[in-house]
């Protein structure tokens, strides 16, 4: 009986791992793929990122983003007579048009996307996310996001680490080396798959390794997304297990701990703000929730309280950071297509005085992490 159980579990594990060996699916007509460290990103024909929306019920066969919402988030439409294939299915929209869905989630473009390679819509309103097929990870290991980029994480979302001194398939971390790091253990019957393998440590315990490198959890991290273990240790060698590096930021951007979390700041450490405009929920009208941006420039958004983050002639756009022309002739830094500002009431680095509940709540802070700074 026991033997039968072992065989069953082993077979199940093989099936599970065999699935991850499957070759990447061919995208359907009108969809392209970009292979990244953390998975396969789906784009439209022009190479612009596709997104999914939390407001859509998976596998419900319909999209809840219509009307005004669809102006901001145009659906990725099915061209011609293309048919469903693999994980790609077709949903029929309110207006009768056909839209692609990946694993049951309708996919969209973002109307204000900067171009191929930018991800202006990612994280918008906390409900829009890049359409991505993530790499396979063993049970108990997830893909997390941090300031370093997309990283391997444990089940709680805590960042995982590697150590350069470890050789492929062998951990050299014992004794004092383990003071602030814990090997990520593999279950007794766990099997490797693709980039994942199981190594046996000196004490006979089994540890997961990614691309041959043993992985660890850091005792220095408490919250998901933290990377306190990166560069730590006496030899400062520990490194976050980064799958896809964080998008580049201009050299002048700094990071500061504020009362609401870590924020992006100007070279003085003063918090960076943008004006997202009123965000209206159109769900009640049946049109689906929409995030309506209302950017403003130095002419339309001027006021004693706000100072534009101006760009000089040598400013070089990078990733989601661009330079926009203002109607008064100045040039202003923008992030994800929205102009950046500092608040002139603030007198110290990392203040959040621009977030006044009773004021214009369209102002938002450029937070470093994934969680937006709360101002309700």
């Amino acid at each position: 009986m026991r033997k039968a159980l072992v065989v069953t579990v082993a077979l199940a594990a093989l099936v599970f791992s065999a699935a991850s060996y499957a070759a990447p699916e061919t995208p359907p007509a009108g969809v392209k793929v970009v292979t990244q460290g953390d998975g396969v990103l789906f784009t439209d024909e022009a190479g612009k990122a596709l997104y999914t929306y939390d407001g859509d019920e998976p596998k419900s066969g319909k999209s809840t983003c219509n009307a005004v919402c669809a102006q901001q988030w145009p659906p990725a439409l099915v061209p011609g007579e293309a048919a469903a294939q693999g994980n790609w299915t077709i949903v029929t929209r309110e207006d009768g048009k056909k839209q692609w869905a990946y694993k049951g989630q309708p996919v969209y473009r973002y109307a204000e996307e900067g171009g191929p390679g930018t991800t202006f819509g990612d994280g918008d309103n906390g409900t829009w996310h890049l359409a991505i097929a993530p790499i396979w990870t063993p049970p108990g290991i997830t893909i997390g996001r941090s300031v370093l980029g997309t990283v391997l994480a444990d089940a709680k979302g805590l960042t995982l680490y590697t150590r350069p001194q470890d050789s492929v398939g062998k951990s050299t971390c014992t004794g004092a080396c383990l003071e602030n790091f814990v090997p990520v253990m593999a279950a007794g019957l766990a099997l490797g798959s693709v980039d994942w393998s199981v190594i046996t440590r000196g004490d006979s315990s089994r540890q997961w390794a990614f691309k041959g490198k043993p992985i660890y959890r850091s005792m220095l991290d408490v919250k998901p997304g933290e990377t306190n273990g990166d560069g730590s240790g006496l030899d400062e060698a520990w490194r976050g297990a980064v799958l896809e590096p964080a998008p580049q930021v201009p050299a002048w951007v700094t990071y500061r701990q504020s009362l609401g979390g870590e924020v992006m700041a100007d070279p003085r450490g003063f918090t960076l703000y943008y004006h997202a405009g009123p965000r209206r929920s159109l769900a009640s009208s049946g049109a689906g929730a929409a995030a309506i941006r209302k950017d403003c420039d130095t002419a339309t958004c001027k006021g004693a309280e706000w100072k534009a983050v101006l760009a000089d002639d040598n400013a070089k756009p990078t990733g989601n950071w661009t330079v926009m022309n203002n109607s008064d002739g100045t040039r202003q830094w923008a992030h994800k297509g929205v102009r950046l500002w500092t608040n002139t009431i603030e007198t110290q680095p990392a203040e959040l005085k621009g977030l006044r509940f009773g004021g214009d709540r369209g102002w938002k802070v450029l937070s470093r992490g994934l969680q937006p700074i709360q101002n309700m």
């Binding site: 408490v222 919250k223 701990q257 990392a350 509940f357 009773g358």
Partner: protein, 398 residues
């Protein structure tokens, strides 16, 4: 949290083992070993303006003050009311927004409290208040650091208590025990983990009586540890915020001297910066002559006390002015508060005008015991390599 506690447990285990070994050596030797000073830490769980409410609100003999919406409503004719509210169809909160935007050019009068002149508000006239004697006088007469003002008698009988913030806010419904301003702020902190204050007491030889301890007020960057019932868990670990100010000094973490008498910690007055989050407002609260009186429970798990100090009028006006519709049920009027706050200010006169710019204030708070985890010094993080870190640590070459 467990990952941080584990090393602490290890250390505790080592300490216990060491203690056991010492006990084996014999009583004579162990008695000669001086006991190392210990540390007590508490995380503040609730923080409220110290508003004294008597059973029949005798402190407000003319009743509670009226709010910004009531003032707006009273100023409209019946026809104007009908026009403004779609013949009475608009909800109260929508009316409140209109009431806020009654500046000459529809400016928000809470963000711009000097644009309109409203009727004066009711303020506290009762003789008793929470608080401490901040100016050192018995009669509230003017001193080089204060303006003449009326004193209270403390709720515990302490004479000559100063608490002009109570005099200002004590007759506004929203600041009373059962209304939303204070409770919402505490809920905000509890649910977000923002604006948490840690009180770390070091150099403690005796947790019940010690005439010389150091008390540091940190900002904690971790969320509250709550149990399954949503209650604050004692003995959780909290990391400190190492943020620096523009001048390179610590933004938080001010240290003052204190003493413990029969389990009650009191601190000497000092200027201090504390983090604050409440009602969706993030701000630093700067206090002058700040001090606390905190009674530590016998078992050391909880504490409660009163804090007091001078609080700038501008800070208070900024906070209240930014509350927006949160203030809707509170019956508060920003322009009237602005005027009254300046009239009641009793501390730190402007050297040029002589007008006082700060209000004496008091706060009641509760706390549970905690562990303080000191975050790395950010100046170390800026150091380039191991040698640089060592040099920075020991201040060599700087």
């Amino acid at each position: 949290m467990r990952s941080l506690l584990d090393p602490l447990r290890q250390l505790t285990g080592v300490a216990l083992a060491a203690a056991a070994m010492l006990s084996l050596v014999g009583p004579a030797q162990s008695q000669t070993k001086p006991k190392a000073p210990g540390t007590l830490s508490f995380v503040i769980t609730t923080w409220n303006y110290a508003i004294l409410e008597t059973r029949f609100h005798d402190e407000c003999p003319e009743g509670f003050t009226i709010g910004v919406d009531e003032i707006w409503w009273r100023g409209l004719s019946k026809a104007a009311r009908a026009k403004a509210t779609q013949n009475g169809e608009l909800g109260d909160s929508e009316r409140f927004i209109m009431a806020l935007q009654r500046g000459p050019n529809k400016e928000n009068v809470c963000l711009n409290p000097t644009l309109v002149k409203d009727p004066p508000m009711f303020t506290v006239e009762g003789p008793t208040a929470y608080g401490m004697n901040l100016d050192g006088t018995t009669d509230g007469k003017a001193t080089p650091k204060t303006c003449a003002h009326q004193k209270f008698t403390g709720v515990d009988g302490t004479p000559a208590v100063d608490n002009q913030v109570y005099r200002l806010l004590g007759c506004i419904y929203g600041w009373h025990k059962y209304d939303n301003i204070q409770s919402n702020a505490n809920i905000n902190r509890k649910t977000t983990g923002n604006g948490i204050v840690l009180v770390e007491v070091t150099g403690v030889d005796d947790t019940r009586n010690d005439d010389n301890v150091s008390v540091t007020f940190h900002h904690a960057i971790d969320q509250y540890a709550l149990d399954g019932q949503g209650e604050f868990q004692p003995y959780a670990s909290y990391r400190t915020d190492p943020t620096l100010k523009a001048d390179g000094t610590r933004r938080y973490g001010g240290t003052v001297r204190g003493k413990i008498v029969n389990g009650e910690l009191t601190t000497e007055p000092a200027d201090l910066n504390l983090p604050f989050y409440g009602n969706y407002t993030y701000m630093d609260e700067f206090f002058r002559d700040f001090r606390i009186r905190m009674k530590i429970a016998e078992d050391g798990e909880t504490a409660k006390g009163t804090a007091a100090g001078y609080y700038d009028v501008d800070q208070l006006v900024y906070y209240i002015g930014g509350l927006g519709v949160i203030m809707f049920p509170s019956q508060a009027d920003c322009p009237a508060i602005y005027v009254a706050a300046h009239q009641l200010a009793d501390g730190y006169p402007d050297p040029k005008t002589g007008e006082c710019k700060s209000l004496s204030s008091a706060y009641n708070f509760e706390a549970v015991s905690a562990f303080t985890i000191h975050s790395p010094d950010p100046t170390l993080a800026q150091a380039k390599g191991p040698l640089d870190r060592v040099l920075t640590t020991f201040g060599i070459g700087k």
